[in-house]
């Protein structure tokens, strides 16, 4: 079928504003009488605030007020508080001071005497699980969303049994299994039992989480840095203790989130609450260093995997145990993503998954691109290569033999995935990369330099369902697509808006994407995270556009006779199929809708839509033909995949590597927007290179101090660390449950690229598997020189 918009490039309206600097981010806004606030951050990793003496500070000229934990709504533990009396990591905000300018606020903070009683702390989950070990929180050491906050200590025997360098496996708090694991391992030709560590790494969003807020006529106006929109409004309302309808959120542009700004976060409540106290608008600009404290990071793992392969390379059994470093608060459930990813990507015939998420005295974690899935890609993919080598199977072939297909089950619930075209991606990639030919170069040595050629793959769910769509045709004939999904920077807010344009056949010039500001009346949508937009929002925009289409035809039939089925649309008119000259322009139909009222004009609304959609549609009632609906289309467990191929040169004398050639192929269903897809595939890959070989959080276990609170210390990849040219491709096969076949892709390219790079380095080192990320030059030098590594196998947060 030929599409009008789907599969075609376009220039999203926010691109021009971004590249010309016209886009206004949170810290660019000003309001009459605006003042600034700064934060007093905890100097120690765990303590109890005994007393705050701010008398000197409050006497200073230009200082306007202070906000402490006593002034802000309490957030139920173990979620991160807005301000705290029990700081649980270095850099946790204890109080905020407002002043006429930031320097004055900071000078005032220096004059505040905070008396903090130090408490035991830890940065190592295993240390906390050891009998008598420190708890990061005074109310427990283990928990997560869906797992009760509790104190859990393993036995000394648990640790002794594991032996040196092997992950102890005591009581788990989450567990699932399927199949006969013992039988699977008994049948296996090869069984590996590997202990591994994946480092935590920061999100490095270019825009720190600055926020400006003020109150007007009972409503709180919040200018924030968020990758999601309407999804965050109830959360913000909760932070502020007000009704969601009293939050006006302006978040049109976001300078990167990578998962860390998917939901509202506690610090964004500070300017609003300070503003309420002072009666003046308050701006809180967050600095780069502060972003490393109150920003976010990926959950790190200490894990153990037992994996058994049949003689044919089939993964028969997997026994996976994950100890997740939660940091001080709940963080994310990366461990769940880890288990699900392994169950789906390698389709083991039997699997057991166990996990313990443990609190540590480190800055809060949230989801980061491929939370759990991408850590596992880094660990399991090199093991697959090791098995392929031992069994004499080609490395693409072993992946093909284990690849999931449409309907393959995921996780402990064994839910079938709606589509999976991993085989197609591997085959397409291998052909385009000239895999067989390139393999001849694998292991070739020139002086100190060795070539490694490898393939990697990764997965992430690719969409949700059950949210609302809202479109509007106005008397000027324009189609307004209202989207509450947010703007992570992927342009998919507009790419998916084109689904509505496709259904109604409207030229893109006649479409207006309404987004980024509550005052534009946005529907209830899930946030822009979890690689979901291209699926979820295609569905919502589809159902809303179908509702509008039905209404157009009904209005035409009322006006011109016959039944609605006698009518069709061409993008600007609704007309009689038998006599196309009889019809109404979209603008005319919109005017008729206003005149007709009721469900045509938005005065009557469906019962099943969310209150936020209802409020938005009601506000728009009478301005045109309203198409509004909840997505009740059949859905299921979605899955996106990416595979990556890399040719890498490793210098055995310096431990440095260079990526010579790179190709990534996405399984993202039908491609909506090729350029947008390219940026996701390539951008995700670059982030994957960082995950594999650069980025990690370093802490001193003796004092809980962070070593990398600047971009030059935390080291995301630079232009010079990535290949100048990166190739990409897509399978471009539709997901059957998505109305136009689309599904997400954002997260897997990162894991696939990371895995391909790690596997290529492993190839260059003769098959050495590190069982650790990131792999840094010193680790490569040590292997090449036959020396032991400096870190112990389970040591975390090392340099």
């Amino acid at each position: 079928m030929a599409y009008k918009h789907i599969g075609k490039d376009f220039t999203p309206h926010d691109v021009v504003a971004k590249v010309t600097g016209q886009a206004k981010y949170a810290e660019d806004f000003r309001a009459e009488g605006m003042v600034f606030c700064r934060l007093l951050l905890s100097p120690m990793p765990h303590g109890r605030v005994r007393n705050i003496d701010a008398s000197e500070a409050l006497k200073m000229e230009g200082v306007l007020g202070i906000l402490t934990a006593d002034d802000v709504p309490a957030i139920p533990a173990p979620n991160a508080p807005i301000l705290t009396k029990e700081p649980m990591f270095v850099g946790e905000p204890i109080l905020a001071v407002a002043a006429v300018d930031e320097t004055t606020a900071q000078d005032a903070i220096e004059k505040i005497k905070v008396d903090i009683e130090p408490l035991p702390f830890t940065i190592d989950p295993l240390q906390s699980l050891f009998p008598g070990g420190p708890n990061a929180r005074s109310d427990g050491n283990v928990g997560n969303v869906g797992i009760e906050l509790q104190t859990l200590k393993w036995t000394a025997a648990d640790f002794a049994r594991a032996g040196e360098g092997k992950l102890p496996m005591g009581k788990a708090v989450e567990e699932w299994s399927y199949g006969d694991l013992d039988a699977a391992f008994a049948k296996a030709k090869i069984v590996y039992d590997e202990t591994f560590v994946t480092a935590s790494n920061s999100h490095h969003s270019m825009e720190p989480r600055s926020c400006m807020a003020y109150w007007q006529n009972g409503k709180c106006f919040v200018h924030a840095s968020l990758q999601s929109h309407t999804y965050t409004i109830p959360q913000i309302a909760q932070y502020l203790g007000i009704d969601p309808q009293d939050v006006v959120l302006i978040a049109e542009y976001c300078g990167g989130g990578f998962g860390s700004k998917g939901s509202a976060y506690p610090s964004m409540a500070i300017p609003a609450l300070m503003s309420k106290k002072l009666g003046r608008p308050v701006m809180m600009r967050i600095s780069r260093a502060e972003e490393y404290f109150i920003g976010s990071a990926r959950n790190g793992f200490q894990g153990r995997i037992r994996i058994g392969f049949g003689a044919d390379g089939k993964v028969l059994g997997v026994d996976l145990f994950i100890v997740q470093d939660n940091a001080a608060n709940n963080g994310f459930w990366d461990f769940r993503g880890a288990g699900e990813a392994v169950s789906l990507v390698y389709t083991p015939t039997a699997m057991r998954f166990r996990a313990v998420p443990v609190y540590t005295n480190l800055p809060s974690r949230t989801a980061q691109r491929g939370p759990g899935q991408n850590q596992m890609a880094c660990i399991v993919e090199p093991l697959l290569d090791r098995a392929a080598r031992e069994l004499g199977i080609d490395r693409v072939e072993i992946r093909l033999r284990n690849a999931p297909v449409t309907g393959s089950p995921v996780g402990g619930e064994r839910r079938p995935v709606t589509s999976a075209y991993v085989r197609e991606a591997l085959e397409k990639g291998a052909a385009r990369f000239n895999w067989r030919e390139k393999l001849r170069e694998n292991g070739k040595r020139d002086g100190s330099k060795v070539i490694g050629v490898a393939v990697g793959q990764a997965y992430h769910p690719a969409g949700f369902f059950g949210f609302d769509g809202l479109v509007r045709i106005t008397p000027d004939g324009k189609l307004h697509i209202h989207t509450g999904v947010g703007n992570l920077g992927t342009f998919s807010h507009s790419a998916t808006a084109r689904i509505a344009a496709e259904v109604l056949k409207v030229d893109w010039e006649n479409c207006i994407v309404e987004r980024g500001d509550s005052r534009r009346h946005l529907p209830w949508n899930i946030g822009q995270f979890g690689s979901n937009t291209s699926y979820t929002m295609s569905r919502t925009n589809y159902v809303a556009a179908m509702d509008a289409l039905t209404k157009l035809k009904e209005i035409a039939a009322r006006e011109l006779g016959g039944s609605p089925d006698d009518y069709d649309v061409d993008g600007s008119r609704v007309f009689q199929k038998s006599n196309p000259s009889r019809g109404l322009g979209y603008g005319e139909a919109a005017q008729r809708a206003i005149d007709l009222g009721g469900r045509y004009s938005g005065h009557e609304l469906p019962q099943d839509i969310h209150p936020i959609t209802r409020a938005s549609a009601s506000a728009l009632a009478g301005t045109g033909l309203i198409g509004v609906a909840k997505d009740t289309l059949p859905g299921g467990a979605t899955a996106a995949f990416a595979v990556a191929f890399a040719k890498v040169e490793v210098d055995l004398e310096t431990g440095q590597h260079r990526i010579l050639e790179f190709l990534t192929v996405g399984d993202c269903g039908r491609v909506i927007h090729p350029m947008g897809l390219a940026t996701q595939l390539k951008g995700g890959s670059v982030q994957g290179f960082g995950l594999a070989c650069l980025e990690h959080i370093v802490y001193d276990p003796q004092n809980g101090l962070p070593a990398n609170v600047g971009l030059y210390q935390a080291k995301p990849p630079t232009y010079l660390d990535v290949p100048a040219e990166m190739q990409w491709d897509a399978v471009d096969k539709p997901d059957p449950t998505s109305p136009l076949g689309t599904k997400g892709i954002g997260e897997p390219p990162m894991g696939a690229a990371a895995a391909a790079l790690l596997c290529a380095i492993s190839q260059a080192l003769g098959g050495h598997v590190f069982n650790r990320t990131p792999v840094l030059p010193d680790m490569i030098i040590n292997v090449a020189a036959g020396r032991s590594q400096s870190h112990k196998p389970l040591q975390v947060h090392t340099q």
Binding site: S42, I109, S287, Q702, L705, D721, P777, S790
Partner: protein, 330 residues
């Protein structure tokens, strides 16, 4: 704890060296000399170092530029690293300097960062930069040299309570080129060999160079003796840009009939000062630069290296880089 919010200070922007020297004398320890600012500003933003006044050398034209002299090459301390990297005369005769400049930080930083600033920059030990009260900061402990200290980037040689390393790529090149530092203060000028300019913790734990309050590094002279020599510079870091060396090597070699007649070599990021490899120089002088010599030179270079818990990889890395410098001459 304060991060990223500069306090107020007085700012002086003298338009001549004489005015700057007067200010430096008058302000003494309260004054802080600033050039490109890439070392200074982080200290101020984190309020770890709090000078009362800044003397900004940026407006002093006489401190800028690259000049050929009868004795060699003189580069003003305020010359940017980009200018050095792109200078035809530097590239033609002192390519080592251009190579080293090209590996400093990032292109954007090099556009503003100066030769003098790079040479005079303070230690980059993360504990010290974090603002802890360590020996170097005037306290009575070292945080890095402990059983659990994260000291991957720290020294192999010359530990003396402090285990920080020299972060200056230009310093490593300057030592290899036998550069002379021209230092002025209100009582006159002194010219100091690069090797003596940098000082380790055993000499003074609170500073990295001989400069004292009132002193200004005005220029660096590179003797003609090494012009057009066979050079080798390599810096190994985690990233290709905006990163400090894990280990770096700079060597200048003069060959005659395939034999090393004269050589100077220095290694960066293994000691608090650029480490001149004198014994390696003596060992290889008079020999043909072949693989056997490279192996010997590498082994010789790391003799006496004392690793910390997380940096023993620097031993093979240093050895490899010395080998590569010899091999490159073959």
């Amino acid at each position: 704890m304060s991060r990223d919010m500069m306090p107020h200070f007085e700012l002086y922007q003298p338009d001549s060296l004489e005015n700057a020297l007067d200010l430096a004398k008058r302000l003494g320890r309260d004054g802080w000399i600033i050039a490109g600012g890439y070392d200074s500003l982080d200290w101020f933003k984190d309020r770890v170092k709090r000078p009362k006044a800044l003397i900004d050398l940026g407006g002093i034209e006489s401190l800028k530029g690259i000049r050929e002299t009868p004795e060699g090459l003189e580069i003003g301390a305020l010359t940017t690293l980009t200018e050095i990297e792109r200078s035809p005369i530097v590239r033609e005769k002192y390519g080592l300097l251009a190579d080293a400049a090209r590996r400093v930080a990032s292109p954007q930083i090099r556009n503003a960062a100066t030769l003098g600033g790079n040479l005079c920059q303070d230690a980059r030990c993360w504990y010290y930069r974090y603002g802890v009260n360590c020996y170097r900061a005037g306290g009575n402990t070292c945080y890095a040299d402990t059983p659990q200290g994260q000291n991957r980037e720290h020294c192999l040689f010359g530990a003396s309570r402090c285990v920080a390393v020299s972060p200056s790529d230009m310093g490593t090149a300057a030592v290899a080129l036998d550069a002379r530092m021209v230092v002025r203060n209100s009582s006159g000028e002194r010219v100091i060999p690069a090797e003596e300019f940098f000082i380790g913790p055993a000499v003074d734990i609170t500073r990295m160079t001989v400069l004292e309050p009132g002193d200004i590094l005005t220029a660096v002279r590179f003797p003609a003796e090494w012009a057009g020599a066979k050079f080798y510079f390599e810096k190994v870091s985690d990233r290709e840009a905006w990163d400090f060396a894990l280990v770096s090597i700079a060597s200048a070699m003069i060959l005659e009939n395939g034999v090393i007649r004269n050589v100077r070599m220095a290694c960066g990021a293994v000691e608090c000062v650029p480490r001149r490899l004198k014994v390696v120089e003596q060992t290889v002088t008079g020999s043909e630069p072949n693989e056997e010599l490279a192996q010997l030179a590498g082994k010789t270079a790391v003799q006496g290296a004392t690793p910390l818990n997380f940096n023993h990889f620097k031993i093979p890395l240093m050895e490899n880089l010395v080998r590569r410098a010899i091999r490159a001459a073959a």
